[in-house]
């Protein structure tokens, strides 16, 4: 099976059902997905090729070749090849493991089973074997395997319901409907096998909401649109089975097309490192040129005179050519300024940091048994530099569970729990729940803690009863009762579901509905209300009402809606109650709950009749029907009596507001990008503390044309005077920025965003958005999410992090510098595309503030030290050049050069890079602004690089010239000479190893046993290897390779050598100590302060660690809970979506209905019929 990459050329797709031969002619992609890069055979060549594409590796290869030329070679070949092979091997092993896991996850997806119609029979096939043109059968709750054209389903009219959470993040059900001609095929396998329609449609693309095509069958043409498509990634819901024709498979599915190309992510430090390596390379060439010129001059002035003692082989050689050769020789010996082990060490560090993330128990979510996982190991230090977080809402910030939490009935609040002293008790998992066992129809998952409400119900307080009766009547929910008492509500919005569920548990069970009636079980009694009118919800009205006739024949209007709207329509006698309720609403809103006010009204029979006539008239009007209806609704919804208010909690994930507050303190900007509605998004904004009432302005951008959007954006800027402040801002520091932007919030919807993202407006958008403390984008498509991220990446050059849980977040996750997936949910796409995954949003705090900060700190310290070390090590050769005729003679033994980076000094710095903690985790979390240096790139930047290389240069200078001065005239204490090259080499090498060990000691803030072991161990190993290589034994075996025989013994037993080493060490180290001390003493950084504090507390012994609790500011808002569009009132009353039930579902456990309603009608199972206009 070959992959088809010709899709770009494909102009039109022809798919013939059940005709594999025909379809194979086009070589469409099959349903296998492949994200892995290698297989067993291609691994070695491809991997090596890739590795040598890396500048550094290629560079070392060139060096290796240079070293094989004897005239140039100033070092033996093994000094380069040993590290190079080591580097290549380690990288290859890592790549191989990565790819193995990719193979595994591909395998897992590819081998999912699906039922395919082959040769007239349904057969189980793996997903990867599904072809375009196949007909496959899906069952309830199954993932759709490929992009399908819906043919038929178990539901009437070929309807089927899907959940598209994986695609766009919306969890409400969507309906798809098959063509009538195909839905007639039903589940008749034989008919389906005979189906030979041909679909001609658009080529694969990434538009999730568009599909155009035609179906040709039996000489007829039927047009196809998106309403007939089931896309890969969706889940079939509430539909027993359905059949579909595969149109796009595998990589060509809309889901995969939307995933975007996997980009190789690199951290900014990586990029900086590459630049620096290039600089160093330039520096190296400069040094080479200087020394080569030196050599040319030397050869002319001195070397030619020295001829007698030092002849070239070829007598014709001239000074310039000698200079040329010397250039290359110096390139070889100075190559260690670009240390090959740098790249490997960096990889090792990142791998280690990733493991620490995987191992962190505080990012482990026990309820789902999911530990955090670092899925890529190359981005860790970037976690310490994040400036923007782009978060999905549903499933990330919220659990997408609405819970009836509190209510206010007739001026009394319910929902809080008090202890015996009358203090409010924090509600936790352990707080006892109210026992609803009196109610056989209760929903077991419903929890409520305040028993006084149940008591009130049991006491049959009329207003309390009316309250729940309203909740049970005033909605557009469809009930479903498959088995006795097992009620399932199909709610348009989870809010409504929560309210009706609450009513159900409090004994007002909404059981069934017909177009004209609603049947409730009120405290065990079946009561049927006549439904006279549904005054449906819309965005202007922000309320909905029903008019019913109760069994007693009374006419009642029940209304629920936004508090501000309802309060205006209350009876004046209600003023006092309104005042109390309003206070309660404030209270609820302050806790981030979604509130709703409830009111009712007794209607007069005559007035109602009159009104009903007008309504009938208006509903048949041809023009301005909506307006006329609206006016009529308005007319009757007057003078209502307030019942109370409800408060629904859109259950946030645990600790979300605290996490957001903490991250905000760390100066991270959090943008919420959601496919959800504006109101919902705003509500979450409030409950997450992202939007607050004390904000100056909340801009809402919802223009429909480019011009409108532009006006709105610029208007916002002018009206708030941002423009002026902005100009100031650019000229002032960032502290000022914070104080300004604290006041604004921006909310923009998908339509406007599409315009705002165009080239003309994007700059304005970025400017405005970045001045706002909070930005919320709602109704955005997956691609827009990615575009927003891309925009910030481009304009702000800041590190971005995207966090999400669904397939709709994949593109954003892939675009951002760092993608985080919420794991433990049903779908895995987001996690698979992510770089890090964990189960709860709140772990983000720990990931960034602890792991990210440490990683960044460690990596920066590591790099600084590494460059310092290598400059100190290598530049000694430069200085020596001036004293050895620029001949590229090395100062050190070549074994020392080989081993210095990989043995003598690698482990201490690795231990520092792995274990160092400047500030421990508690303090990292307690002082979020410790995160600031990472965002400002303060710990490692070009300036820092210069400082540490300068330090290295100075050290090398000292390392060379102190022994030089001392050895000018030195002799041993037995008179023999000691100023020979080998002693000189051993002295400088030993000083170097000691100096860099002391330096790493200074750089290490956190001396674990491992650090001790590595630092002391490295020194010990240095001396051990030194003596071993200078021993008699090894010399007798390889006399030419180990010419340093006896040098260690003969030099290190001299006091003078040790005095030189001591002096060199002190001179190299003490200035650094002084500088650091002065800096920390006079200009302490935040880190320095916290470290002092930490040390002070440690000395005082363990204290009560009172983690700061995030203060929750109370906020008042005009909230209304259900933010849905035009409701279904009309549909319900018309009965269009009611299905005549099969007889098996119509038995009742309870006594028969009072008003002679038959079981059949009341047991009608309704489906919410969702694909309305819009």
């Amino acid at each position: 099976t070959k992959l088809n990459f010709s899709s770009a050329l494909e102009e039109e797709r022809h798919v013939r059902a059940n005709d594999r031969d025909y379809n194979e002619r086009f070589s469409y992609a099959d349903n296998r997905i492949k994200t892995a890069k290698y297989n067993v055979f291609t691994f070695l060549p491809i991997n090596l090729f890739e590795q040598f594409q890396r500048f550094a590796n290629a560079y070392f290869l060139v060096l290796l070749i240079l070293q094989l030329i004897p005239e140039i070679s100033s070092l033996s070949w093994f000094t380069t090849i040993v590290p190079l092979v080591l580097v290549l091997a380690i990288t290859a092993v890592k790549d191989a493991t990565d790819d193995y896991f990719r193979h595994k996850s591909d395998q897992q997806v590819n081998t999912r089973q699906s039922q395919v119609l082959i040769k007239g029979k349904l057969q189980n096939e793996k997903w990867m074997n599904v072809r375009v043109g196949d007909i496959i059968k899906l069952e309830n709750n199954q993932f759709v395997a490929a992009d399908l054209l819906l043919l038929s389903s178990s539901e009437p009219y070929g309807l089927c319901y899907i959940e598209t959470a994986e695609l766009d993040g919306e969890t409400n059900l969507k309906v798809r409907q098959a063509l009538t001609v195909t839905s007639d095929l039903g589940d008749d396998v034989a008919k389906l096998a005979d189906f030979s329609g041909e679909v001609i449609c658009e080529p694969p693309n990434n538009k999730l909401d568009k599909f155009t095509g035609t179906l040709c069958w039996k000489d007829n043409k039927y047009s196809l649109d998106n309403e007939k498509m089931l896309l890969r990634g969706c889940v079939l819901r509430n539909t027993e089975w359905c059949f579909g024709l595969v149109i796009f498979a595998g990589l060509q599915t809309k889901l995969m097309q939307n995933c975007g190309r996997t980009k190789f992510k690199r951290t900014s430090i990586d990029k900086l490192m590459n630049t620096l390596v290039l600089w160093i390379f330039g520096f190296l060439i400069c040094m080479g040129i200087i020394l080569a010129i030196g050599n040319t001059i030397w050869e002319q002035k001195v070397g030619s005179d020295f001829w007698e003692y030092l002849q070239w082989k070829e007598l014709t050689i001239n000074a310039v050519f000698s200079g040329f050769l010397t250039f290359w020789s110096y390139i070889i010996i100075l190559n260690t300024v670009v240390p090959i082990s740098l790249y490997v060490s960096v990889e090792v560090l990142r791998l280690g940091h990733s493991y620490f993330i995987n191992w962190d128990r505080r990012m482990y979510y026990s309820r789902k048994d999911t530990p955090a996982e670092a899925r890529t190991t190359t981005l860790n230090e970037e976690l310490g530099q994040v400036e923007f977080i782009f978060s999905d809402k549903t499933g990330t910030l919220t659990q997408n569970i609405m819970v009836f939490n509190k209510c206010s009935i007739n001026g009394k609040t319910y929902g809080d729990v008090y202890d015996e002293f009358g203090h409010k008790v924090d509600i936790t998992e352990k707080t006892p729940c109210v026992d609803f066992s009196f109610n056989p129809l209760m929903d077991r998952k419903f929890r409520f803690h305040d028993s006084s409400l149940v008591e009130a119900i049991k006491l049959e307080e009329p207003l309390v009863q009316e309250f729940f009766r309203l909740l049970a009547l005033c909605h557009t929910i469809m009930p479903e009762e498959r088995n006795e008492g097992e009620l399932v509500y199909q709610a348009q919005s989870p809010d409504e579901g929560a309210l009706v569920t609450a009513a159900r548990n409090f004994g007002f069970v909404f059981r069934s509905r017909t177009p004209e009636t609603i049947t409730l079980y009120e405290m065990g009694q079946a009561v049927t209300y006549q439904l006279l009118a549904i005054l449906d919800f819309n965005n202007v009205r922000k309320r909905m009402s029903v008019i019913v006739r109760n069994p007693k024949g009374q006419l009642k209007l029940y209304s629920k809606g936004a508090d501000t709207i309802l309060f205006d329509r209350l009876d004046p006698s209600n003023e006092e109650l309104m005042f109390t309720t309003s206070e309660h609403l404030n209270e609820f809103a302050g806790e981030g709950l979604r509130t709703l006010a409830l009111a009712y009204k007794d209607l007069d029979e005559d007035v109602f009749d009159e009104w009903m006539k007008k309504l009938l008239f208006a509903s048949t009007a041809l023009d301005n029907r909506e307006e006329k209806l609206g006016a009529l609704y308005e007319e009757i919804e007057q003078g209502m009596l307030l019942l109370g208010a409800t408060a629904i909690e859109d259950k946030l994930q645990e600790g979300v507001p605290e996490t957001i507050a903490c991250l905000t303190l760390a100066n991270i900007k959090i943008w919420v990008l959601t496919g959800d509605k504006l109101e919902t998004a705003m509500n979450i904004g409030y409950s997450c503390n992202m939007l607050r009432d004390d904000m100056n302005t909340v801009f809402i951008i919802s223009g429909h044309t480019m011009l409108e959007v532009q006006q709105e954006l610029s208007k916002d800027k002018f009206s708030s005077g941002l423009d002026m402040e902005k100009t100031e801002l650019y000229s002032s520091d960032s502290v000022f920025e914070e104080t300004i932007i604290a006041e604004y919030a921006l909310i923009i919807n998908g339509h406007s965003l599409a315009h705002a993202l165009e080239a003309d407006l994007e700059q304005i958008l970025v400017d405005v958005a970045c001045l706002c403390k909070t930005v919320i984008c709602c109704r955005v498509t997956p691609l827009q999410k990615a575009l927003v991220v891309e925009l910030i990446k481009r304009h702000k050059r800041a590190v971005t992090l995207a966090i999400g849980d669904g397939a709709n977040d994949v593109s954003m996750i892939k675009t951002a510098h760092i993608g985080v997936g919420i794991s433990g949910q049903e779908g895995m796409q987001a996690v698979l595309a992510s770089d890090y995954s964990f189960a709860q949003f709140r772990y983000l705090q720990r990931l960034l503030l602890v792991h990210g900060r440490w990683s960044y700190h460690r990596m920066c310290n590591f790099l600084c030290y590494f460059f310092y070390k290598n400059f100190a090590f290598t530049l000694v050769h430069f200085w020596y050049g001036f004293l050895c005729g620029f001949s590229a003679q090395t100062v050190y033994d070549q074994w020392f050069i080989t081993l210095f980076n990989i043995v003598y000094t690698s482990l201490p710095v690795l231990a520092m890079g792995l274990f160092d903690q400047d500030v421990n985790e508690q303090y990292s979390l307690r002082f979020p602004n410790l995160y600031r240096p990472g965002q400002l790139n303060q710990l490692f930047n070009k300036r820092k690089f210069f400082t540490c290389t300068l330090q290295g240069v100075c050290t090398s200078f000292i390392l060379f010239f102190i022994p030089y001065g001392a050895f000018m005239t030195a002799v041993r204490d037995d008179g023999a000479h000691i100023s020979d090259q080998q002693t000189f080499a051993v002295t400088i090498a030993t000083s170097l190893v000691i100096v860099v060990s002391v330096q790493i000691g200074l750089d290490t803030n956190y001396w674990t046993a491992v650090n001790h072991f590595f630092i002391w161990g490295s020194l010990a190993v240095y001396f051990a290897i030194l003596f071993a290589m200078h021993s008699d034994g090894i010399f007798t075996i390889f006399p030419n390779q180990f010419p340093f025989i006896g040098t260690a013994r003969n030099s290190l037993n001299q006091k003078i050598v040790w005095l030189v080493i001591l002096l060199t060490t002190v001179v190299c180290i003490m200035p650094m100590v002084a500088v650091r001390f002065i800096k920390a003493d006079l200009y302490p950084t935040q880190t320095d302060k916290v470290r002092l504090l930490q040390q002070a507390t440690r000395k005082q012994g363990p204290q009560e660690q009172n983690l700061r609790r995030v203060r929750r500011t109370s906020s008042r808002r005009s909230a209304y809970a259900f933010a849905h569009q035009q409701g279904y009132g009309e549909l319900i009353t018309s009965g269009k979506n009611m299905k005549v039930p099969t007889s098996s579902t119509s038995t009742y456990p309870l006594s028969s209905p009072t008003r002679g309603l038959t079981g059949t009608s009341s047991a009608s199972i309704c489906k919410c019929f969702r694909h309305q206009k819009h």
Partner: protein, 372 residues
């Protein structure tokens, strides 16, 4: 219902049933191990550079280094050293004519006598060095131009020396022993020392020519092929002498078989190449007198008889003869003493400066003002 603020303890509690003990279908929890290593809670020492540690360190270094420096300087000053340049650059110099005429090709020896006076007595053992200046023994091509296997007595290398020795690898189709530029340029002046007794007699001062090389060089690194037998000439039969030499390697010291051939100590000393272009190498040792009453070299007039074989004028080189006594720290070396005193003083001074800065401006209690 409100999520309480982040609290680690909450998460440590297992959910009932999530870790079913003994249940047959109990799945192993993915919960990471609670080890100090994995949780990054390894006990650790967390030093901070504070005034309490840094300032004493500076004072300590000052207080230790200054005495060491003084000690070194005093010791160095007590060492007697006498140095004489006998290159013969000046017309007036006794060796002028030798230096003018001599080249590697001349066959007849040129000798000159350089008189000098010691003002002070030299006690104990006196070491005699020759010093060369502007001589690049550390040039890369020079340094690698040797074959350590050959010098270690390896028979095959004797006849087939390493390519590194080029162009001093073969002559007259015979391999050179010892091969290479270093050996070829062996210092071959002969220096003799005479004491001009006030009574007019000229006393030869006995110069010890063994014991000047490192023990490891003499006994391990350098070995004659076929051991130290007396019949070196046959061992080296198939080899040729280095082109600049006047006599083959087995005639370096015919009188002492233990100091002949590759193990000749003058040769070994020369082969230990110098690190810097100006260097001195030990040439001879003047043993102290047995009676201990008279100094090894009493003050007076001496003459240095030089058999001038080694040309250095072409590259502007200098040749010196140095007489020196030694101490525990080796020869005269004022650099270290001065360096120690300087570094010690600077550290002490820095300590004082830092102390002042710290007292005047330093933040001693700066944890209080951590903004959040």
């Amino acid at each position: 219902m409100m999520a309480s603020s982040y609290n680690a303890k909450d998460e440590d509690g297992h959910l009932p049933g999530s870790v079913g003990s003994g249940g047959p279908g109990a799945v192993k929890s993915k919960k990471p191990d609670n080890t100090a290593f994995k949780q990054q809670r390894l006990p650790a020492w967390q030093p901070i550079l504070t005034a309490g540690t840094v300032l004493p360190a500076f004072f300590m270094i000052g207080l230790i280094f200054i005495p060491i420096g003084i000690g070194l300087l005093v010791t160095s000053n007590n060492i007697k050293e006498f140095e004489i340049d006998y290159t013969g650059v000046d017309m007036s110099s006794p060796c002028f004519s030798c230096s003018q005429n001599y080249s590697w090709n001349s066959t007849s020896a040129c000798t000159c006598s350089v008189p000098f006076t010691l003002d002070q007595p030299f006690e104990s053992n006196v070491f005699m060095y020759y010093g060369l200046s502007n001589f690049y023994q550390n040039h890369r091509r020079y340094v690698k131009s040797r074959d350590d296997s050959q010098l270690n007595g390896d028979k095959s290398s004797l006849l087939n020396p390493s390519k590194e020795c080029e162009p001093y690898r073969t002559s007259d189709k015979k391999s050179i022993a010892p091969c290479g530029a270093i050996a070829n340029s062996l210092f071959n002046d002969t220096l003799e020392l005479f004491y001009n007794h006030p009574n007019g007699s000229k006393i030869t001062i006995h110069l010890e020519k063994t014991g000047i090389a490192w023990w490891t060089d003499k006994h391990v690194k350098f070995r004659n092929p076929g051991g130290n037998n007396n019949n070196l000439s046959s061992v080296f039969r198939d080899t040729s002498k280095p082109v600049n030499w006047h006599k083959p390697v087995y005639e370096l010291d015919p009188s002492d078989p233990d100091n002949n051939g590759f193990v000749n100590e003058d040769f070994i000393v020369w082969m230990r190449t110098a690190a810097l272009p100006t260097f001195r190498k030990l040439y001879r040792i003047i043993q102290k007198k047995k009676d201990n009453m008279t100094p090894t070299l009493p003050p007076g007039n001496y003459s240095l008889e030089v058999t001038y074989n080694y040309p250095v004028r072409s590259f502007d080189g200098r040749k010196r003869m140095i007489l020196s006594t030694i101490s525990w720290m080796g020869g005269k070396n004022p650099f270290l003493g001065i360096a120690y005193i300087t570094v010690g003083s600077v550290c002490f001074f820095l300590g004082v400066v830092l102390l002042i800065i710290h007292h005047k401006y330093g933040n001693r209690n700066n944890s209080a003002d951590i903004p959040n």
